[in-house]
């Protein structure tokens, strides 16, 4: 297990040259090797989706991907959503609609929703609920997450 490989993770536009064992998950590499702790780990089984990040624009569960598989790819995490002090419409919508309580699952939901809406801006309500069912939240009962994502979808389509 001590064989390590040099890889480069590009997170939110910034390159991180790191040396990882082949078993290192992308989630652990993002958090521990690159110090970006906004991505949270909720189950390590690929069920809860708290660790969702965008890899080349696609939402992925970073606990189910090896860091080496993300070598050279563009990774986006919650830390890269805002443009300086200007929050992303999805972040604003979550605050305005009370789409979060403890905030632990929030980064995963934000990245999932942003990834899906960038790919499919006109997604139907039905499909949106289907997509959001891939992540778990224990605090909100999803009511305000759905409301927030719908509100952000409208704003993202307009911009």
């Amino acid at each position: 297990m001590s064989d390590k490989t040099d890889i480069t993770l590009t997170i939110n536009g910034q390159s991180h040259a790191i040396r990882v064992e082949s078993r290192r998950t992308l989630a652990d590499a993002i958090r521990e090797d690159c110090g970006q702790t906004g991505t949270h780990i909720g189950c390590e089984h690929g069920v809860c989706g708290a660790c969702t990040v965008l890899v080349n624009g696609e939402p992925v569960r970073s606990c189910l991907m090896f860091a080496q598989q993300a070598d050279g790819k563009q990774i986006r995490t919650v830390e890269g959503l805002a443009d300086g002090d200007e929050m992303h419409p999805m972040q604003r919508a979550f605050m305005e609609n009370h789409g979060l309580q403890c905030g632990f699952c929030t980064p995963g939901f934000l990245m999932l929703a942003v990834g899906v809406l960038e790919r499919e801006p006109d997604i139907s309500d039905h499909d949106l609920i289907d997509v959001l069912s891939s992540n778990l939240c224990r605090c909100t009962g999803y009511q305000n997450i759905i409301k927030a994502v719908r509100a952000a979808a409208v704003e993202m389509r307009q911009s």
Binding site: M1, E21, R23, R24, D28, R31, Q36, T37, G38, T39, H40, I41, G42, C43, E44, H45, V47, C48, A50, T77, V78, E79, L81, A82, M87, Q91, F94, M95, E96, N97, H98, L100, Q101, C102, G103, F104, C105, T106, P107, L110, I129, D130, L132, S133, S134, N135, L136, C137, R138, C139, T140, G141, Y142, Q143, N144, I145, I146
Partner: protein, 788 residues
């Protein structure tokens, strides 16, 4: 939703202002325990069997490992009750010779990284002579059952009974007696952040800082120091951002004790992050109860007497600080719910088994007893041939204060009013028509009603009544305006998602005339916060809110006195608003910031009539209050598969004055979702050997967006004299009523089959089994076990 702008002239209380907590959490700048770096990482070696004697533990050469042998000077975790035939049992920090549940920690290994610690843990060999595990509480009650703890006489370690005088005489007058035997299966609170701890030794001071996912920082400090035998001044406990708790993080994790001990031993920092499997099998469980309930009714459907027997499976140890009495004794005291019944005879027992210890989980027993009691009421309604709502109408309490058969005093509430509101909003008559049409077409819709109370914000007298050696209750707030004019409220509560920083800031803002955004609520740090009891039992808004109000009233009085000096006006002619003191009807004013500056730097100008500085303390320890609500669920049951589709959920609730409607609604939403999960999906399943079959979130099933329907909320605000802010708690209510409403709806849907689902969760398997056994399934459907 309307977001009000600051200084609009009305009160801050009652507004849905955005949460002050959110900006860091939506940008990835929240700070959770697992985010901290550490020198050593700990992995626990856990028992793979439920009962047995440890014969040998061997680790690879040179591995850093701790076993019970290294911890002989540590006291066990041994919370106490002085009543209810409580038998104290101790929980060692690491299993000491005997293992009592699958997942119990046997050893702790440490290494420079998480991966290495896991590698070493995998190589630790544990030899255990397996014993006979007791998994079901009924088996543990048997006369010849083995003992989970050899130093006890039997496995019942807490037992209470309440019997009102003349019970049998009243029972004999019954027109009709109805009976329910119900089971609630074992569940796990499942916060999205599993538990984590980080202990860092500071060689300069000799102190340790324990950062951990606790709901009770001060109690954690007390407990860890008592166990280690060190002064509390040597330990600082920090609860940073905590990713939900729901009760699971209120009980002391033995793992935290080990971390502090190891940090001191290594003079270093050590950390542990619980993985999801550990959380599901070895954190804390709840709700595993068996309840038998009989109700005696008069000819008009009025409940005369209740007779109950409750058995709670409390697992292998007794949780700190509440003790394992928390579930059976809460059930005993609150089983009659919101119904007027004068005769009561109930026994409630907590039974030890070789399973994961039980601890509070959102609602504590009340989701179970509400479910059982509402089953009884539904059965009675059927027996009397009336709508379930009509039976409730004849039995709900409506005169206050109301003293229950168990001695609880209910303050003003709206039990009937919330039910009528719910019936109207859901349009019960229209539903019954729709239900009939659907039934004629072979579709099974059902409606379920649950009415209940939620005891909240109770102070030390309520806990003292339980005989707890550690009697929680009061809350204290230190409120300071610093020389720059910023406000800091340091509180003993420890919120972890409830938005309390925002709600308290709103309460304080109205008193002192400073906008909430300038009020910082500080919590979760024993070096900064006053000694308090943390956040649990729907208490923090009532207790810390009350203490905040008291402290703010003192600050207000002092500010008015200072302004009176500076503006040469009578205090009663001065208002505090938008950061300034104004003389009413004039243009004379002075900013609070400048008064704060003067309080510290120009104290002499008040000529000794006002004490320097601007800090006040408020402490609040009330008797408690009751919120109430009516929940309505509409479901459709697929009789072929047993699948339940949630069509709609409606809540009419009364939690007194709502401080922040947006936050209050969010609390109800979340509770209802957990209640729906509890009702339909979530179950920790042990096999007969004590091995857990549900150790991932793909097996233990928290609901997703698919399972939670739209939740419609309605509010009544009954202003109670039992809470000085007029706010009641509402953190648990959603979870208390929803299981009863959902299962009631399922039973209503299935009424043509004459079945009674008296078990939660009401899984498709259980529903199908009941339908098969009914013998009434249409012939076109398979009635054999093939589709089970």
């Amino acid at each position: 939703m309307t977001v009000h702008t600051k200084g609009s002239g009305t009160t801050w209380v009652g507004r849905s202002i955005r949460r002050l907590e959110d900006p860091s959490l939506v940008t990835g700048r929240g700070r959770f325990t697992a985010d901290l770096p550490a020198t050593h990482w700990v992995r626990f070696v856990r028992s793979s069997v439920a009962a047995g004697t440890i014969e040998k533990v061997s680790a690879p050469e040179g591995a850093g490992i701790v076993t019970a042998r290294d911890l002989t000077k540590l006291k066990p975790i041994r919370p106490m009750l002085s009543k209810f035939n409580y038998v104290a049992v101790g929980q060692p920090i690491l299993a000491d010779g005997v293992v009592r549940f699958t997942g119990e920690s046997i050893a702790a290994v440490y290494a420079p990284s998480k991966d290495k610690a896991e590698d070493i843990a995998d190589q630790v060999e544990v030899e255990i002579a397996e014993g006979t595990p007791l998994i079901d509480s009924m088996d543990a009650l048997a006369d010849n059952a083995p003992l989970v703890h050899a130093d006890t006489k039997h496995n019942v370690i807490v037992e209470g009974r309440i019997a009102t005088p003349g019970f049998e005489d009243i029972w004999k007058t019954a027109h009709q007696v109805l009976r329910v035997e119900a089971r609630s299966r074992r569940q796990n609170a499942t916060p999205m952040e599993a538990r984590a701890g980080h202990a860092a030794y500071d060689s300069a001071t000799g102190r340790v800082t324990l950062t951990c996912t606790t709901q009770m920082p001060h109690l954690t400090r007390t407990a860890v120091c008592d166990i280690l035998g060190i002064p509390e001044s040597e330990l600082r406990v920090v609860a940073p951002d905590v990713g939900g708790g729901f009760g699971q993080k209120m009980s002391l994790a033995p793992e935290y004790v080990l971390l502090v001990w190891l940090a001191r031993k290594l003079s270093s920092s050590v950390a542990w992050t619980e993985d999801r499997r550990e959380n599901l099998i070895a954190s804390f469980h709840s709700r595993d109860q068996h309840v038998q309930l009989e109700g005696a009714f008069d000819a008009k459907g009025k409940l005369l007497a209740l007779r109950g027997d409750i058995v709670a499976n409390i697992g292998a140890y007794s949780c700190f600080p509440t003790t394992c009495g928390v579930e059976p004794l809460m059930a005993l005291a609150e089983l009659p719910g919101p119904y007027d019944v004068r005769a009561y005879d109930c026994r409630s027992r907590g039974v030890m088994t070789n399973t994961c210890p039980m601890a509070p989980y959102r609602g504590v027993s009340r989701p179970v007893i509400t479910f059982v009691l509402e089953r009884l009421m539904d059965k009675a309604a059927a027996a009397f041939g009336i709508e379930p709502t009509e039976l409730r109408r004849r039995n709900l309490i409506d005169k206050f204060p109301y003293t229950s058969a168990t001695g609880l005093v209910f303050d003003d509430g709206s039990y009937k009013e919330t039910m009528e509101m719910a019936i109207k909003a859901i349009d019960l008559d229209a539903f019954r028509k729709r239900q009939k049409t659907a039934r004629d077409a072979g579709r099974y819709l059902g409606i379920g009603i649950a009415t209940f109370s939620e005891r909240t914000g109770y102070g030390s007298p309520a806990f003292a009544a339980r005989g707890m050696e550690i009697t929680p209750g009061f809350e204290t707030v230190y409120l300071t305006i610093d020389p720059s004019g910023f406000v800091e409220a340091r509180i003993g509560s420890s919120p972890h998602g409830q938005g309390l920083r925002t709600s308290l800031a709103q309460i304080i803002a109205d008193e002192i005339g400073i906008d909430p955004e300038f009020i910082k609520v500080v919590h979760g740090d024993t070096d900064r916060a006053p000694y308090g009891w943390g956040t649990f039992a729907s208490r923090s808004l009532v207790l810390s809110g009350g203490a905040s109000l008291l402290a703010a009233q003192k600050i207000r009085a002092k500010l008015l006195k200072m302004a009176s000096h500076l503006l040469e006006a009578a205090p009663e002619d001065i208002t505090l608003q938008s950061g300034s003191a104004h003389v009413i009807g004039t243009d004379r004013s002075v900013t609070i910031a400048s008064m704060a500056r003067a309080a510290y730097h120009q104290a002499h100008i008040f000529k000794g009539e006002i004490e320097p500085g601007l800090t006040e303390t408020g402490t609040y320890d009330p008797s408690g209050t009751f919120s109430n609500a009516c929940h309505v669920a509409i479901v459709e049951v697929d009789i072929e598969t047993g699948r339940v589709e949630m069509e709609k959920f409606l809540v009419a609730e009364d939690a007194g004055l709502i401080i922040n409607p947006m936050i209050a609604d969010g609390q109800v939403h979340g509770g209802v979702a957990q209640g729906i999960g509890n009702a339909l999906l979530e179950e920790i399943i042990y096999d007969e050997t004590g091995n857990i079959l549900t150790s991932t979130l793909a097996d233990f099933l928290p609901p997703t967006t698919h399972e939670i329907p739209e939740i419609e909320l309605h509010h009544i605000e009954t202003l109670t004299g039992n809470s000085i802010t007029k706010a009641k708690g509402l953190g648990e209510g959603g979870a208390i009523g929803a299981p009863a409403a959902v299962i009631s709806a399922i039973n209503d849907a299935l009424s043509p089959f004459g079945v009674s689902i008296d078990e939660m969760p009401a899984t498709p398997q259980r529903i199908r089994a009941a339908l098969r056994n009914s013998g009434k399934l249409p012939n076109t459907l398979p009635s054999t076990g093939r589709l089970a």
